[in-house]
Symmetry: C2
Subunit: 213 residues, 2 copies
DNA sequence: TAGATTGTTAATCGATTAACAATC
DNA sequence: TAGATTGTTAATCGATTAACAATC
């Protein structure tokens, strides 16, 4: 068994934040046909120190080999497994407004192991219409749909004023994680994972940094 | 002078990340007509500890009053000033694809002190068309436009393969900050502020956390 | 004035980096 | 075997929390 049993150890959030970045650069290296890489080299590419990279990876297993480094393909696959990208995740999206439509039309999901199984809105004018081969369903049927179809992830792209209500519905029907694009902080039980994309906050941070210069 | 001169002190990035959140909740409290608030109360609402909130605020000045707390309106305005939201920021957007269109149609900017001054694309089929009263300009004219119009912030919503090139153009023509929606890490001079919205990374993080449960 | 709550220093906690023995 | 590079422990750095004097 090459991978350690570290189930009891909590992964620092700082480490979790870096994982997708490692994955992205490794994907690129795989495409370039690179075979091996040292922690120093990969660290330089990704923009972290070599010891930090090794520390991070070793939370999940011993993927390298002394005197050699890391096999790119193997490390990439190991990381994909760690991140749960091996098995496909079923998603639903609620809110077919500006951002919602952008997400529905995006090709990024398919490239990864995520796929949109259904999309919902509350606007009668939109319900029944089709976007990227997906029929817009009535949000009133959301809970039943999630329950019956074993949905993993719910995407919230509705106005802040109704986001909590949608989140509650998702939680009640057994969703595992929520990808939140609405500009509010959702109140959810500990067991439910939430990832926020508070876009306006990003712009405000940028504004501060620009002004501060 | 109620505000300290702390220009020489570097603001921790962790603090900068929290500022927009404080601003958002304070905006809400102002709307609700709340007059005063203690660090304990505001911390509870925002989800940070009271001492942390006080520490954070005191990087920028002494906004509170012993025995009283903070005047909501005053604190909100002070924070807006700190974040550079007092003076309007002029932005251009490059890439009128899925995300780009969503941003153009979004009403969030106008509510804040940001406004889109022009939008660009490289697709001849899109150039000349109109989105939300903005004509899509040829990206070949981007550099001249930024220079002539004193643009503050450039939004990059193009595919990763051309993002660096657009960023280079922006930097050369004197942009101050870049809001990057492309899935690459841009190479820019230190003086240029960059804020990344790597949406796919958010989804991957969520996937990891869901799987890890 | 007495009570409340800030601003700030000191103590703790967590995350990063340095160093090096283990080993391919 | 000798050189290279990992995995991991120890040292440092930064960020958060605790505590309390200052003061409204």
């Amino acid at each position: 068994m090459s991978k350690k049993n570290k189930d009891s150890i909590v992964i620092p959030t700082a480490v979790i934040k870096r994982l997708p970045k490692y994955h992205r650069y490794l994907e690129q290296l795989v495409h370039e046909g690179r075979e091996k890489i040292s922690s120093q080299q990969l660290g330089d590419i990704v923009g972290v120190s070599a010891p930090q990279l090794r520390q991070d990876l070793n939370y999940f297993g011993n993927f390298g080999q002394q005197g050699y480094g890391y096999n790119v393909k193997k490390l990439y696959n190991s990381l994909a497994e760690v991140m749960g990208i091996q098995n496909k995740s079923k998603m639903v999206l609620v809110g077919v407004g500006n951002i919602g439509q952008a997400l529905v039309n995006s090709k990024d999901f398919e490239k990864r192991s995520f796929y949109l199984s259904a999309i919902f809105d509350s606007d009668p004018k939109l319900i029944g219409s089709e976007i990227n081969n997906l029929e817009v369903k009535d949000v009133a049927t959301l809970k039943d749909y999630i329950r019956e179809n074993n949905v993993d992830i719910g995407i919230i792209a509705v106005p802040g004023s109704v986001a909590q209500e949608i989140a509650d519905n998702m939680v009640e029907s057994g969703i595992k994680g929520i990808w939140n694009f609405s500009p509010v902080d959702l109140k959810t039980p500990q067991a439910i994972q939430v990832e926020n994309e508070h876009l306006t906050e990003g712009l405000l941070r940028l504004s501060f940094k620009v002004k501060d210069e």
